[in-house]
Amino acid sequence: MRPDDRSFRIALVADGYVNPPPGGLDALAVLAAAGWGVMQLPADDYPAGIAARVLAEVTEQAEEFSRHGYDFVLIGQRDGLAGALGAAGLAVPDQITPSDAAELLAFLNARPAPPPSTWTWLNSADAP
C-alpha cells in the first residue's frame, strides 16, 4: 500500500489556460505545482451542441466531487457553464481570470484547506 496523494482541490479551467496562446499563462504548470487537479472546459471553437454535451459531462462529474466536499475554483470563463452547473444545483465556484502565474498562485494559496476526508482508510493510523 502506498499513500494516496490526492489534494481534494479541483480547478475548472477554461481551455485558453490549458492550451495557452504564445505568451499566455500556462495554468497547468501553476496548478501542478500548487497541487490542484484540473477539469478542462470545452474550447470556444467547438459547436454549441458539442460544448453543451461536454459541459453536461463536466457537471455530472463535478456533482460527484462536490457531494464529497472537494473544493472547486473556476479559472477563466466559459459560456454555458453557469447554466450547466445550475441545472444540477451547483453554484459557479469562486473565479479568477489571472494575467500571470503569481496572481493565480496567490488566489489558490488563499483558499481554505479542504475539509478532512471521511475516508477511514485515508485517515487511519494504519495508513502508510
Partner: protein
Amino acid sequence: MGHPGTRSDRSNRSKQGVAFVAHCLLNQNSKVGDGAHCAGVYSPIVDVLREQGWRIEQMPCPELAFTGLNRFWAVREQLDTPAYRRHCRRLAAAVADMIAVRAERGEDIVLIGVEGSPSMGVHITSSDPARGGRPEWPEGTAELTSGEGIFIEELRQELGRRGIVPGLGGETHALPDHDEATQRTRLESVLDDRGRGEQ
C-alpha cells in the same frame, strides 16, 4: 516573473495535433481510493505533450460518474455490464464528436489512456473472471493482461465508424515495471510516429 515555465514559451512551436488524455492525467482526484499518484496534474505526460507541441484535451472519467468516488478497485469483468457499456458509449460519442471536429480540420489525433485500467487501458487492462463478492484476494493477484479498457474500446469503435484512426499511448504508473523514462520514450515515439504520418 519568479515562476519559470508558467509562461507559454513553448507554445510558439506549431501545434502537432491534439492529444485526448484520460481525465485522471490532469486530475488525480478522480482516481479510485489509494490510486492517486500525485495531488492533481500528472506532469510527466503533460510535459512531453507540451514539449512536442501537442494540444491537450481532457476526456471524462467513465468510472467516476458511474460508480463514484467510493468505488472499489475493479477488474474489467466487474464493470462490463450492459448499463456501463451504455454509459461508456454515451461518453464516447461526445468525445468522438470533439475528435471529429479536430480531425475535419486536418489535426492529428492521439488518445492517451492509462495502462492497466479496466476502462482506460490502451494496450493493457486488468482482468479476472473469478473476481466478485466480498473483496478479498491475495495482494499481487495477477490481473494485468493484454487488451483495452471498456471505454477505450467503445471510443475506438465509435471513431472507426467515423473513419478516424487515432494514435494510442498510455500512462504506465500502475504497471509493475513502470519507469518514467521508459514511459516518456514510448509516448515520444507515439507522437513522433504520428508526426511522420504513421498509424
